[in-house]
């Protein structure tokens, strides 16, 4: 998407990321932290990735959690540059209360205009916006974000 000053905004979301969490209710928080620090450390990740590739083959070359470890694997240096550039543009859609409604109604609007042709774009989007706002507001009220319990 070209921006007003000529640069191209390559932001895209939908990244299938994984993350590790430590639950607040656990009584072994310190051990969990140490374990995760060890697991995501550069050395461990490199070792794991190399062993996996040695066992299974080139298809098992995976995306390590540790960025430094990623460099030490057998990726093409050209590929690594492209990946790093891509990572800079990775931006996820923010999750809000009731956010599932946005995708749903945008899809519905798209569908009613393009696929079944039953609505004009203006009608479809207007209804979609109305419904989305209604649901967002309802969820915010429910969880007390706006203060109107």
């Amino acid at each position: 998407m070209e921006q007003s000053d000529g640069s191209v905004n390559r932001a895209s979301g939908g990244i299938a990321g994984e993350c590790d969490i430590i639950l607040a209710q656990t009584d072994k928080a310190q051990e969990a932290w140490e374990f995760l620090s060890w697991w995501t450390s550069e050395k461990t990740q490199i070792e794991y990735a190399r062993e996996l590739e040695a066992l299974v083959g080139v298809e098992a070359r995976w995306n390590t959690s540790n960025v430094n470890a990623f460099h030490s694997l057998n990726w093409d240096s050209e590929d690594v540059r492209v990946f790093e550039e891509q990572w800079k543009w990775a931006r996820e859609i923010p999750v809000v209360l009731g956010g599932y409604y946005t995708q749903r109604y945008v899809n519905n609007a798209f569908n009613s205009v393009v696929v079944s042709g039953s609505k004009t774009p203006r009608d479809a989007l207007e209804e979609a916006v109305k419904e989305i706002n209604r649901e967002l507001k309802m969820k915010q009220d429910e969880y007390g974000v706006t203060g109107n319990e």
């Binding site: 009731g98 599932y100 749903r104 899809n107 519905n108 569908n111 009613s112 696929v115 079944s116 039953s118 969820k139 429910e142 969880y143």
Partner: protein
């Protein structure tokens, strides 16, 4: 003596229904405390929820088609099969779709109904020349419900099938011989005067089964139409319930939907019993 059965029944059937009933009068989202709100869930459900009306309509259309048609198809299949020689092989072939899970079968069917050029039906129609562009079976709101109905009919052929087959084999051939002597001519007369009256319990069981399970359709509609389907075209009551329970985390409202579904299926079951059962004390 009936204690073991009653305990199981109470714990696994009665108790969840009662709990659903209780929760349906509250506002509960599992993170905050349960708040008693009286009938407001039901008010919203019947007066203000257009998606629920769509879901009700979809489910009723679905059940009215799939219930009776599946019922008749399985009866017809059992009747035809009863007179063939290789009964067991055919019976297995008919019953196999029902044993496999709905989602597995839907994957197969979604290949047939795939909305691009390579889906089997689209490919066939394009090759013959009937259409130019592929029909968007699973994305066009006009086509989603018929597609789900077709798949569900296919999957429900085995529902009452075994029961019918067993019932038919239980009718002793003496009846047929006596009828032949009395002058029955065609097979249809046989069917009408001997087979059907003697199979009333099986008919009742299969009818109730097929109608009530077709009201609870969810996995077929979700794996073909997606969740939620475009413009809620394939949205069924249970899909609506799932939406409210597991996407929006409004347990009270979802329980209200569940109670409504329970009342509908119960009423239909009683109606069928009155129509089809033998004894008067049902």
């Amino acid at each position: 003596m009936i204690a073991p059965f009653f305990i199981f029944f109470a714990v696994f059937t009665l108790l969840p229904v009662l709990i659903a009933l209780v929760i349906s009068f509250t506002d509960y989202n599992m993170f905050q405390e349960m708040e008693f709100v009286g009938f407001s869930n039901y008010e919203l459900l019947f007066l203000d929820d257009r998606i629920f009306m769509t879901a009700l309509g979809n489910t009723f259309v679905f059940s009215l088609v799939v219930g009776p048609v599946g019922f008749f198809l399985s009866f017809f299949a059992a009747w035809v099969l009863n007179q063939l020689k290789m009964r067991n092989a055919f019976a297995l072939a008919f019953y196999a779709p029902s044993i496999t899970s709905g989602i597995a079968m839907s994957v197969v069917w979604s290949y047939i109904f795939s909305p691009d050029r390579y889906g089997l039906i689209n490919n066939l129609l394009i090759n013959i020349g009937i259409i130019d562009d592929p029909i968007l079976w699973t994305q066009d709101p006009n086509y989603i419900l018929p597609v789900i109905i077709v798949v569900a009919i296919w999957m429900s052929m085995g529902n009452g099938f075994l029961v019918f087959l067993a019932g038919m084999q239980n009718i002793s051939p003496g009846y047929y011989e006596a009828a032949r002597i009395d002058g029955i001519g065609s097979r249809f007369q046989e069917l009408k005067y001997i087979t059907l009256p003697l199979m009333k319990p099986q008919l009742l069981f299969a009818a109730i089964n097929s109608v009530t399970t077709s009201f609870g359709v969810f996995d077929v509609s979700v794996s073909i139409g997606g969740f939620p389907s475009p413009n809620y075209a394939g949205h069924t009551i249970v899909a609506h319930l799932y939406d409210y329970a597991f996407v929006r985390f409004q347990m009270g409202y979802a329980s209200a939907i569940a109670v409504v579904l329970f009342v509908i299926t119960y009423a239909l079951g009683r109606l069928l019993m009155r129509l089809l059962s033998n004894q008067n004390d049902y």
